[in-house]
């Protein structure tokens, strides 16, 4: 018997190794067995290997994606940077276009609010705010476009100045901040009269001939009175600041901050319709509520525009696509004498 076992011991061992697991399997297949201590030890041994494997593979992965795969990243980054630069330029252009659109809409809105006037849109093409000389800006419209001397120049926020010298295709505008500029104004709230005179600095003007007894406080809005024969009535000029009223003398003194930022002008409107001085200077009733638009309804409509100007309508010309130039009757250029507040010292 033992001899037989010894003879077939290999075969028997193999048979046991083969059949024992099968028996175990069929015996325990239907219920999950608990892990033995030996099993847990084996898993404990396998765990660091798996962790090491994970560490190695993730390291290779990091190396690959962090270095090797970035071989052409520099060229890609350059190309993307170039595209980004182009997009940035486009974006800047769009932002400029948007800002310009906002400004033009404001000008257009202003022009539509006063249909009795004719406006000519113009772009500022030169600035000469020389403290030693005149405070001028140059616009791209001239005599060929119907611009004449002494025509008021405005933007949506208020008065810019008046046309000082006219060339065929351009014109110089004397800003309200020039020392030679004087605009007849009223306090919008109390209708008190005064003159706004330039000081040579683009951000400040001074108040002239404001009687001491007049009702005026700091922060009051000054609007054109229409009595100087240059500016139509009701256009914002600036705000009263630093009001000084002494206990003696005829006048009170103040500084005026222009309603328009004169150093940031880009587009302006030239009012090409003649100013009816008698009509403009008619005294209206005090406005109940302050605001630049409050003056507009007080204006007496002038004669309706004739000819092609009538077709052009109230909208500002020169900005809107297809807008027509105002070819109205030749405008009588008011002489400096007809505008008491205006004088030029060369």
């Amino acid at each position: 018997m033992f001899g037989l076992l010894r003879r077939y011991r290999e075969l028997l061992l193999i048979a046991v190794l083969l059949l024992l697991p099968l028996v175990v399997y069929f015996a325990h297949a239907r219920r999950q067995a608990e892990l033995s201590r030996f099993d847990r030890t084996l898993l404990w041994i396998a765990s660091p290997v798996q962790k090491g494997m994970h560490w190695a593979v993730s390291g290779v992965e990091r190396g690959w994606y962090g270095y090797v795969a970035l071989r052409h990243a520099h060229q890609k980054a350059d190309a993307l940077q170039r595209r980004l630069d182009l997009y940035e330029l486009d974006r800047q252009q769009l932002l400029l276009d948007r800002a310009e659109n906002v400004r033009l809409r404001a000008l257009l809105g202003m022009a539509e609010a006063s249909p009795e006037r004719r406006y000519l849109g113009a772009r500022v093409i030169g600035v000469r705010l020389d403290p030693k000389g005149l405070q001028l800006v140059t616009i791209d419209r001239g005599a060929n476009d119907g611009v004449a001397r002494m025509m008021p120049v405005v933007v949506a926020k208020g008065v810019v100045g008046r046309v000082h010298a006219v060339g065929p295709t351009s014109a110089d505008v004397l800003l309200l901040s020039d020392r030679n500029s004087s605009i007849a104004a009223r306090v919008e709230r109390s209708r008190a009269r005064a003159n706004v005179r330039g000081t040579g600095e683009p951000w400040t003007c001074r108040l002239d001939y404001a009687l001491r007894a007049e009702d005026m406080v700091e922060g009051d809005l000054l609007v054109t009175s229409g009595t100087d024969g240059v500016y139509p009535r009701g256009l914002p000029v600036g705000k009263v600041t630093r009001l000084r009223r002494t206990g003696y003398g005829l006048y009170q003194y103040a500084e005026v901050v222009p309603a328009v930022e004169l150093t940031k002008l880009e587009e302006v409107l030239v009012i090409t319709s003649p100013i009816d001085r008698a009509q403009e200077s008619a005294e209206p009733a005090p406005a109940p509520t302050p605001g630049p638009s409050a003056a507009a309804p007080l204006m007496t409509p002038a004669a309706p525009p004739q000819g092609p100007a009538a077709l052009a309508g109230p909208a500002a010309e020169g900005f809107a696509p297809g807008a027509r130039r105002a070819d109205g009757p030749p405008l009588p250029a008011p002489s400096p004498a007809s505008a008491p507040g205006m004088e030029i010292a060369r």
Binding site: E10, L13, I14, L17, L18, L19, L20, P21, L22, V23, V24, Y25, F26, A27, H28, A29, R30, Q32, A33, L35, D39, L42, L43, I45, A46, V49, Q50, M53, H54, A56, V57, E61
Partner: protein
């Protein structure tokens, strides 16, 4: 000594396999790095040490794969015997033949596991038959990597086998 070495090498391979499949495929396909060890034992080891080595490797597979105890152990020993029978009938020395045999063994072990599991499972829990195509993919992939494992096993064998001086090979 050889079964123990085979066991630890298989443990290393099983861990590598688990780590690799996490990154490669993420479980969409599987590969058996351990079964070529059994094939190698079937071709080059003795009867007893080969059977013992296969038994331990099968035990390890049971443990790591979470299959019921005994299933992979039985199949590993059966695969060992199959390889033994094949090597007695045909010459399996080249890398290609080793790869083919590894692929066939993997497929047979897979099908055997499927069959045995269906025998003891309720109809609801029985593995569906269409898993067979995944077994085929596994067999092909195993055949592709089998030569590498064969080379590694031969290298390890070299540490424990003394060259006999003057013997022509």
């Amino acid at each position: 000594m050889r079964p123990l070495v085979a066991f630890f090498f298989a443990l290393l391979l099983a861990s590598v396999q688990a780590g690799l499949l996490r990154y490669v495929g993420g479980g969409a396909f599987s590969v058996s790095l351990v079964l070529p060890c059994v094939v190698y034992l079937g071709l080059s080891a003795g009867n007893v040490e080969g059977a013992l080595g296969s038994f331990t490797i099968g035990y390890l597979l049971d443990l790591l794969a979470g299959t019921p105890k005994g299933l992979m152990t039985f199949l590993a020993v059966a695969a060992f015997l199959f390889c033994r029978a094949v090597s007695g009938a045909v010459e399996v020395r080249s890398r290609t033949a080793f790869a083919v045999l590894s692929g066939v063994c993997t497929l047979l072990v897979g099908l055997g596991a499927l069959f045995l599991t269906r025998l003891v499972s309720t109809p609801d829990a029985a593995p569906p038959g269409h898993l067979a195509w995944r077994l085929l993919v596994e067999a092909v992939l195993t055949a592709l990597v089998a030569p590498l494992i064969r080379a590694a096993m031969r290298k390890i064998d070299g540490f424990f086998t003394r060259e006999e001086a003057g013997l022509l090979r």
